[in-house]
């Protein structure tokens, strides 16, 4: 139980740090110093969010306009990351691509968490046949690898941004539902829930007002981890030609267009989009690890 003692020490230190200077910034600074890798992860993610929001101001060339004169142009002072076979600026496409990656990542994670939380709460709190039924649905969804289910879903729904988000959200549901269910089962037996029940509160109200807020910490940890895998699955789907359709610049599809044939002749088409995907996912993983240590010390790895 060494970890729980340590955690309360952190909490005490945290409140001291907060009390000394007063304010959230010092608390954030304290956490950043305590978890430098998490802070680096958060910084990486902020850079990508910044790029996605201000893409127009960060680029000179249009990400979609083609120019045959520039086809496969090497990186230079104007085209920092070179141009692709259609003469499109790779740098602009990567900056705008952050929008797609983050939109799909955040969209599908949010959607997956929403349904996962609803199913997890229902099955953990109500138990009985509802629980049995939901558990079987979870079993079924989890018996297929994330990418396989997303591939079939994406093919069935057809290529569009919205459908890719749905296709990735559905395979994420069982992972969220399982964690929330386990948490709800544990919380259900605690005195404060019993007290709420004794006051005659409805099940719905207890689940939403008392159980749900207490599952927030594991949910945040899980959502950060899912964000990383959602971004990777989007890249894989687009790489395989079943993800984001033209004309959106998706990092995964940039790699499929350039794939094996340009490995020899235009390595910049392979290197830069891959770095963008890896760096963003690396950032979410670093942040996710730190959040887990802060919010859920029992699950340390």
């Amino acid at each position: 139980m060494a970890t729980s003692v340590k955690t309360s020490e952190y909490a005490a230190e945290l409140s001291r740090a907060g009390a000394d200077v007063g304010g959230r910034w010092s608390a954030a600074l304290f956490l950043a110093r305590r978890y430098p890798l998490g802070a680096i992860g958060a910084a990486i993610m902020l850079v990508f969010v910044f790029a996605a929001v201000f893409a127009e101001f960060l680029t000179v060339h249009d990400p979609l306009s083609t120019n045959s004169a520039l086809s496969l142009a090497h990186p230079d002072a104007h085209y920092w990351m070179g141009a692709d076979n259609f003469g499109r600026d790779v740098y602009s496409r990567i900056v705008y691509g952050a929008r797609i990656s983050l939109a799909v990542g955040i969209g599908s994670t949010a959607l997956g968490c929403l349904f996962g939380v609803a199913l997890g709460l229902l099955s953990g709190y109500l138990s009985g046949w509802v629980d049995l039924l939901i558990q079987r649905i979870i079993d079924i969804l989890q018996a297929l690898p994330l990418l396989v289910l997303a591939l079939v879903m994406a093919a069935a729904l057809g290529p569009s941004l919205q459908n890719v988000i749905i296709a990735i959200a559905i395979p994420l549901i069982p992972y969220v539902a399982r964690v929330i269910r386990a948490n709800t089962l544990a919380l259900r037996e605690l005195p404060f829930v019993e007290a709420a029940r004794a006051t005659g509160m409805s099940d719905m109200r207890i689940a939403l007002r008392h159980v749900l807020p207490n599952t927030l910490a594991p949910l945040i940890v899980l959502a950060t981890a899912q964000l990383g895998s959602a971004i990777l699955v989007e890249a894989s789907l687009s790489f395989l030609g079943l993800g984001i359709p033209e004309p959106y610049p998706s990092w995964g599809r940039m790699l499929s267009e350039s794939a094996a044939e340009y490995v020899r002749t235009a390595p910049w088409l392979v290197i830069f989009p891959g770095i963008a995907i890896s760096l963003l996912v690396f950032g979410t993983n670093l942040l996710g690890d730190a959040l887990r240590d802060i919010l859920d010390p029992r699950q340390r790895t």
Binding site: D139, A143, L144, V148, A155, L240
Partner: protein, 315 residues
Amino acid sequence: MAGYLARRSLLMLLTLFGISVIIFTLLRIVPGNVVDILFDAAGFVDPADKAKLEADLGLDKSIPMQYAAWIGGLAHGDLGYSYVSEKPALKEILPRIPITARLAGMALVFSILLGVPLGVISAVKQNTWLDYALRLVSLSGLSLPAFWLGLLILMAFVASTDTIPIYSAAPKSFWDALLMYSVPAAAVGFRSSALVMRLTRSSMLEVLRQDYIRTARSKGASENSINYRHALRNAMLPVVTVIGIEAAFLIGGLIVTETVFNIPGVARFLVEAIRWRDYPIVQNLVMFVAVIVVAVNFLVDMLYAVLDPRIRYGD
């Protein structure tokens, strides 16, 4: 135990049945079947021809009828015919399985050979620079898309030997075959090794905190003996479960890696069949994947009970 096995088998069957219904329905609610794709490519064609082809393929029947025909066939080992090649689906799928199985086996071996020792070192040297470095390596391993790693390996190959490793159905020698498979297997296995390493590390740290380790230390056992004779054995138990998680993880990696390296295995075949809306191939392959994942998880649970006498599956 017999009761547990019966219940577990029933649940597995139920899961597989659920998957078969979902996959079958998903593939058929899509607007546009293989006939539409073929006829779109050909331009205008007589609607009567189209109706005849749909009838030949059984696509004019209701979805439940089509489903019953598929499951009925499965029971006889008849998987239907590929729409694209018009050959029996079984004949299309079977020869591709050994290729993917070899790749998966080598990737698994690679991930364990790399992941377990590094995870142990990381735990034993907890909070030293070596631990931090190894953790960063494993975290970046989990952040690299498997297909990009494959492309990077291709680039390194081109840069150093000026050739691209090409898959060949009949490699000249055993060593050629080993080389041919080991390059893509390393690309798949590296990601899995990162997963194995993280789980080995946390499991090892858990064990090192336990009382019997303190006892061993107070009896004067050497650090090596404590780490490798006392701790590692018990830490390996949870790592066995990783193989279950890895099965699903590996399949995702195989799909993209076979595509990058142009390897004609089942994983790449699944993507091709999905693109062509070749239902008989897609539905049978997805079922195949589901059977493997469900079976591996079952075997891992059984293995766990054998390795850890504290675990007993009661009725």
